[in-house]
Each structure stands twice: as C-alpha cells, then as structure tokens.
C-alpha cells in the first residue's frame, strides 16, 4: 500500500534531519568557526522530495521527537528546553519551510529538476525560514529587528551551499531513483 510507503518515507526524512545534526563532518565551519548545522539541508530535501504535506509532516515528526525529550537537534540538543531557546522561531519555521518548498517544487512540475529544486529550496528554506526565524530571534533576545536580521546574515552563505546541495541531490534522485521523487510523479 502506498500509505505505508509514505509513512516510512516521512520517518526516513525525519531521521535524515536528525542524522545530519549528529554527523560532525556535516557541520561546515564557516566564517571564523561559527558552526552551521546541516539540518536545514534535511528540511529542504524533505520538501523538495516528499512534497508539501509529507515534507512538513516529516519535520513535525522530528519536532515531536524533540518535544518528547530525544536529543535529535544538532549538538545533541532536545527536550522542551529548545522551545525556550532563541532559535525557536527557526524550529517553528521548519515545517512551514518544508511545506512551501514542496509546494513550489510541485508548481514547477514542468521545469528542469535542478532549477526547480534550487528555486524551491531557496525560497522555502531561506526566505520563508528566515521570515519566522529572525522575528523569533528578535522577540526572544529583545533585539531590534533590523540588527537581528543583519546578524543572522552570517548564516546565509551556508544556507546557499545547502540549497545547491539540495538541487544536486534531487537531480541525482530524479535520475537514479525517480519513483522516490514524490513531487514529480504524474
């Protein structure tokens, strides 16, 4: 049954996001050693490959595990504490970012896979995500919105790398295992 397959895929992508936070080799040291977690790469991939609803569900499943007390976020963070931390805006933005990414990927069904996945991941995984993350930071830290926005910009180059990786990985899947690219099945 396809619904079983989709359930497993949702679990797989939730696990992928968690695994991306665990592998130290995936933490790109950038700009003076500010660690940039690869976890948003998993969020982008979930949207691009699973589509809006299932992509968002994969992220929600991960956050559910985190709320239950599993150390699934980068650096072994987890539990209810992370929902009190400054990055809560980004966590709230994650499922929405995956949803928008998947939606754009679906709307661009006729376009080239590489191009459409890069556009979708950039819009969903950067613009939409920061639209939640930056105000979240500003509220939690009581800092002015504009300065917070400027401060958060150091993460954008890393995110752009993740967007390109999302495009390349999606293209590989489209060629090597097209039946898994749920956003592209007619």
């Amino acid at each position: 049954m396809t619904s079983d397959r989709h359930l497993v895929l949702i679990a797989l992508f939730a696990a992928l996001i968690a695994a991306l936070g665990l592998v130290p080799a995936f933490q790109v040291p950038f700009l003076g050693g500010v660690p940039i977690t690869a976890q948003t790469l998993g969020v982008m991939l979930a949207g691009v490959i699973l589509g809006p609803v299932r992509g968002a569900l994969a992220v929600l499943l991960l956050l559910f595990g985190v709320a239950l007390g599993l150390p699934l976020l980068a650096g072994g963070r987890g539990g209810l504490g992370v929902f009190q931390s400054p990055s809560v805006g980004f966590l709230i933005g994650w499922p929405i970012a995956a949803f928008v990414t998947g939606l754009i990927m679906q709307k661009m069904a006729d376009a080239n896979v590489l191009v459409s996945s890069i556009v979708a991941a950039a819009f969903g995984g950067i613009i939409v995500l920061y639209a939640f993350g930056v105000p979240g930071l500003a509220i939690m830290l009581k800092t002015p919105l504009w300065e917070t926005f400027i401060g958060a910009m150091i993460y954008v180059p890393g995110d752009m790398i993740k967007v390109v990786l999302t495009g390349l990985i999606t293209q590989t899947i489209a060629r090597g295992y097209p039946s898994a690219l749920l956003t592209r099945r007619s």
């Binding site: 049954m1 619904s3 079983d4 397959r5 989709h6 359930l7 497993v8 895929l9 949702i10 679990a11 797989l12 939730a14 696990a15 992928l16 968690a18 695994a19 665990l22 592998v23 080799a25 991939l45 609803v53 569900l57 929600l60 499943l61 991960l62 559910f64 595990g65 709320a67 239950l68 007390g69 599993l70 150390p71 699934l72 650096g75 963070r77 987890g78 539990g79 209810l80 504490g81 929902f83 009190q84 931390s85 400054p86 939690m140 830290l141 009581k142 800092t143 002015p144 300065e147 401060g151 990786l165 390349l168 990985i169 590989t172 899947i173 090597g176 295992y177 039946s179 898994a180």
Partner: protein, 212 residues
C-alpha cells in the same frame, strides 16, 4: 541513542506530565515581560534548586548550563554591540532560567507520559490519516532509522576511502540518498506485507524500542 530522561522516582517524576507542562507554560508567559534582574535571579535559583532536589544525578545534569553558555555570551555581546548590554544580561538570565525549567520537565517525565500529554496537539493531523498508532510507528521508525542511516553513510565512506584513500565527504551524498530511499521502500513493503501500518500488533512501547 540516549534519551534526555533521567530515570528515577523523585517527587517531580510522580507529578502528572500535563501539570508539569502547564506550570512550564505559565512560567514562560509570566517570565517573558520581566525586565529587572532580581526576579530573574529568583527564577534561576528556583530552577537550579529543582535540579538539586533530584540529588546528585540532578546536579550532574546542570552541565546543560555549560553547553548553553557560549550562546549566552554571544547574546550578551550582541546586545553590547548595539548598545543595550544591560538588556542583554536580563535576556540571557531569563533564557537560562527557562531553558533549565523546560529541561527539568523533560528530565523527569517518561517519554510515554510526555507523548500522552502532547498528543492532543497533534490531533488535527488525523485529517491526513495519521492515527495514534501510525504516529507511534513513525516515531519508532525514525528512531531506528538514525543509526541505520549513519551506518549506510559509514559504509559508503569506507568504500570511497578504499578506492581513493581520501574521505568521501560530499561525493557520497548521491549514492547515500539513493541507498536510503531504496532501504525505506523495502521497509515500506515489509510493513505492507505484514498487514500495513494499521495492522501491526499494538503495544510496542517507545521506551522498549529505545532499549531503556
């Protein structure tokens, strides 16, 4: 995988999960508008006191503070850079106190109880055909997939090293993606062959799957 739960039978463990979550939510809402140091120091002392009430294992868990310290320093520096250092200290104090309180709830609540308490939030998802049983299965699968994925990644990296003498890094992303997806399709087929997600025997407790 090590869950953040601390096994024990303290007074805090015996409180209902829903009550602890409610108190935590109320504390966050009340603490948010506070902008003087003293009440926040009181809140922080209460949080540390809660950890101390669990005895030595509880005090050991206060390493959370050390892990969180770099973030707090960055926050204070950022506030100092835009000329509001005092506010930065208040924000850092409140964050530390609330993170400790939330961690305390996680520390003293079993995953099953937490799941039962959080489940109502996820009720809208039944719209998408996600029953309680499916949610539990998906959670168990996710937890099981993490070491499996890391294993797949390790194998690919070793194979690449054997061929080239260098670490695979980004070059193994593509074969990893395809192997992981194929693996998940096999698992999906296996579940269907056993009667589907809704036909699996019930009672697979998450704590048991975690090996706790």
């Amino acid at each position: 995988m090590i869950a953040l739960y601390l096994a024990g039978r303290s007074w805090a463990h015996r409180l209902p999960a829903g009550l602890k979550l409610l108190v935590l939510a109320v504390a966050s809402v009340l603490a948010f508008p506070i902008d003087t140091v003293f009440p926040l120091l009181v809140l922080l002392s209460i949080a540390v006191g809660l950890f101390a009430s669990l005895g030595k294992p509880g005090l050991n868990k206060l390493v959370i503070i050390r892990r969180f310290a770099p973030f707090l320093i960055v926050i204070i520096l950022f506030h100092w850079a835009i000329g509001t250092a005092g506010l930065g200290i208040i924000v850092a104090l409140r964050l530390l106190a609330l993170v400790l309180l939330a961690s305390f709830v996680t520390l003293t609540t079993r995953m099953d109880d937490m799941m039962a308490a959080i489940r109502p939030i996820f009720r809208p998802l039944t719209y998408f055909g996600l029953s309680d049983r499916r949610l539990a299965l998906a959670l168990a699968l996710m937890i099981r997939f993490i070491p499996v994925l890391l294993g797949v990644l390790d194998n690919l990296d070793e194979a690449y090293r054997a061929r080239s003498g260098k670490a695979g890094r980004w070059r193994i992303f593509a074969p990893f993606a395809i192997q992981a997806l194929r693996l998940s399709d096999h698992v999906g087929e296996a579940i269907s062959a056993r009667g589907g997600a809704d036909g699996l025997p019930d009672g697979q407790r998450i704590d048991r799957i975690l090996g706790k």
